[in-house]
């Protein structure tokens, strides 16, 4: 661990945190552009954040201490994951002290407190959002675990960083089908976990359709800022995991170029998500398990093709 490797690590960390609202903002702007609306600025996320952290916050009288502490516990596990994400470029320092299971566990921890937060204010919406979130995340979990298993077989390592580095150096050419299945499955999980169309619509405030928004309906100010930040960071985590594990190229290039390629890959993920959002309708809640079932089946297929070939 020298100064330069450490500074690269910290640079990546800061970049990921700072760019998180821009990435989700970019998706929003692109969607509006494709829908022939006048797109919002991609910096809108920062403006919203600035507004939220400077205004008075209104707390529900019906809420308990849970509303005070839960937003922190929604955000801090996700912030902790950022420290363990794979390195973007060669020579960057990385922490190899947790493995992929712990990362999914931390994501679940964040979701757990988000659901409790939704149920705290005694509103019908919060309970509804929590119930739906519980339904979706219970079905996401198996796909996630099987996906981890599959990718760790191909990367011969379960630590996320080591796995990404291994994949960057040895693309699993003999298991390309398996790799592809795992990639598609992970992409479905990316959509489902981040509440994008077709699983959930991040823009709607209609009670028939909303999942994530319903849980945060009674939050304002600082608390809402924390939750908004958590959701954009969660997208960043999934996107950067996707690009470092399933698009493993550009790692060995010079530092500046590697960063550039990493950002371009993130943009590509964002464009794909926006494209899917524009071209599909939101699924009915009871159709969502079918989509997640596809992810589970693909993860199984990935494991089976790995073993039999």
């Amino acid at each position: 661990m020298t100064f330069s490797t450490l500074s690269l690590y910290i640079l990546t960390l800061i970049l990921l945190i700072l760019l998180a609202p821009a990435l989700t903002g970019f998706i929003k702007a692109l969607k509006m552009y494709w829908l022939f609306k006048r797109p919002v600025s991609i910096w809108q996320g920062y403006r919203d954040f600035n507004k939220l952290i400077s205004k008075e916050s209104v707390v529900s009288q019906e809420a308990s201490a849970m509303t005070t502490i839960a937003p922190y516990l929604v955000l801090s596990p996700l912030l902790l994951i950022l420290f363990f994400l794979p390195p973007v470029t060669q020579g960057a320092f990385y922490l190899n002290v947790v493995d992929a299971f712990t990362i999914t566990g931390l994501i679940s921890l964040s979701a757990f407190f988000l659901m409790l937060l939704g149920m705290d204010q005694g509103s019908a919406f919060g309970g509804m959002g929590a119930s739906r979130e519980a339904f979706i995340s219970a079905l996401v979990e198996p796909a996630m675990i099987l996906n981890i298993f599959a990718i760790s077989l191909m990367a011969q390592n379960i630590g996320i960083s080591s796995a990404a580095i291994h994949l960057a150096h040895h693309l699993p050419e003999e298991h390309l089908a398996s790799f592809l299945f795992a990639g598609i499955s992970f992409f479905i999980l990316l959509i489902a976990e981040n509440g994008r169309i077709p699983v959930d619509n991040p823009e709607t405030h209609l009670e028939l359709t909303m999942v994530h928004e319903a849980m945060t309906l009674d939050l304002t100010g600082w608390k809402l800022a924390l939750i908004e930040m958590a959701s954009s960071i969660k997208f960043m985590i999934f996107a950067s995991l996707f690009v470092t594990l399933f698009l493993p190229f550009g790692y060995d290039l010079p530092v500046a170029l590697a960063f550039l390629i990493f950002l371009l890959k993130l943009l590509a993920v964002a464009i794909t998500v926006a494209w899917i959002e524009v071209n599909t309708a939101k699924l009915r809640l009871f159709k969502v398990p079918n989509l997640l079932g596809v992810a589970i089946v693909l993860a199984f297929l990935s494991l089976i093709t790995f073993y039999v070939t």
């Binding site: 019906e62 149920m119 005694g122 509103s123 379960i158």
Partner: protein, 614 residues
Amino acid sequence: MTPFFQLDTLSLLFVALIVLGSVPNLFYTAGYLPHIQRKTHFLVHYFAFIGAMIGVVTANTPMAFLFSWEVMSLASWQLILTEGKNRQEGLTTRKAARFYFFMTHFGFVFLLLFFLIASQSNLDLPFSEMALSIQAFPYAWLLFLFLALGLFSKAGVVPLHVWLPYAHPAAPSPVSALMSGVMLKVALYALFRFLFETLHPWPLAWGVTVLLLGSFSALVGVLYALTERDIKALLANSSIENIGIILMAFGMGMIFDTLSLPHLSSFAFIAALFHIFNHMSFKSLLFMGAGNILHQTHTKNMELFGGLIKSMPITAWTFLIAALSISALPPSNGFISEWMLFQSMMASQAFTDITLKLALPFAMFSLAMTSGLAIATFVKAFGITFLGLNRSENAAHAKEVNVLMMSGLLLMTGVLIGLMLWAPAFLKLLDGVVYSLNGQRIAADLVPTSFSIHAYNPGAVISPFWLLIGLIALTSLLVWVKSQLKLQTRRSHTWACGNRVQAVNQYTAAGFAAPLRRYFQSLYQAEERIESQAQSVHIEDPLPDDAPHFKKGQHHLIIHPLFERSLYHGTVQLLKRISFWIYHWTHYEKFRYTYFILVLLILVLLGYRLGVTD
């Protein structure tokens, strides 16, 4: 003369489990005692129960084991009946106790058969000499079957689990905590003891059977826990789930042992033992918390709770810690044992048998599904019970319970947090126990430093201590940032679409589980009925003007559990039908009756003849 009772490493570990489980429970019981009517009856059986459990885990001969086992069963049976003389709940309690009595003796018969064969009818033979006499018996699988039926009916493994969701809610809360937290583990102790000492080289099929039963139990347990509205029945169902998880780890250990992968086998057995301790800590805590609520609100129905976090803060926060741990969320101790189980399943890539290799992802799927559903279950259990508004008058009058009961809860929380923070040291201890069983030490690989735990898959490492520090540091950073911002806070009502915020508008426990209940409808066979009363009632009894004008209605939801419906009820129906048929066939004619007796006699003689020649 061999001693009846003897302490070795495994016994000592389980004595430690019983002590850790009962000391906080003693405090809790001391606080709970004023609310028990038959105090002497309760106390005699309570101490007999704890003593008998210690007797079971230290027994050295079949006689001592069976005696302690029976005392344990009978004492717990009487403890379930403590409230049996109450007028209102007495009937269900007596029914639950009868069910438990039957199931536990069903198991006892098979245990007795196991011992009679294993020790060649000499019930004073010490366990260490039983392995020799077993080698003379040609059908080892029969012994395994008897042992499994005997122990799994006690441990609550599917399909012998049906008594749990009845017996645990019926018992007084400290007793449910003991039964669920400790007694179920005593049955698993016997599994460790007899499989290792008397049946040791196992065929592969046994390990696979245990793994299958475990994964099945885990899924079935958590699925029924999810839809349960009785909070203690929810916890009882979740015990079935956790016993399933322990058995999965145990089955993995057996499979690895058969395939001569001793390191991995030790790893899986350590995971099983660790989960036994974890489940003891969080399940006792949850049952005690549920007991506090029951004590204050006089109901077990979750639909009548709500908002208890404000009036019962200590109960609520300890319940939350236990809920985090049982949902296997990092960095809790429950997460560590489940992590170890995932790791040992991932190590299946070392298998050469392709069928087994392809089967393991399915076991992993069921474990992952279980942990996903467990999160949903405990969000429901905590959220509906403690958050939101009071849903009934009972909940509105709840207060924090007395100091003794509280100290029981806090002590158990201490045990739980200790298991989390000192997990590496504790795993080292468990390694010593597993070493005494299979002679394979893996402490150097498992816990090379005192802060992290390693698995055999490359890159698999976890450090609960540092994760906790990281979470605390980041949270404090955010809190500090907030304090620098100097924001103003105003309190106002929750937005309820312009209406007054009312408790009836909140999501109910049944509503919370509705999406999953609908998705797994074939398993639940839920009978749903909505009775909405006619508009005229509404006019006769007008609501106050500011209240939203809803029609009064009632939602009935009855769930028919699959196994009770098919296996148990089915068996009863079949037996009834056969006996009815025999009765009809023989009753009216003497000749048919004699004929029937003759056939039976011949069958018995033939069976005896076959048995002897074998």
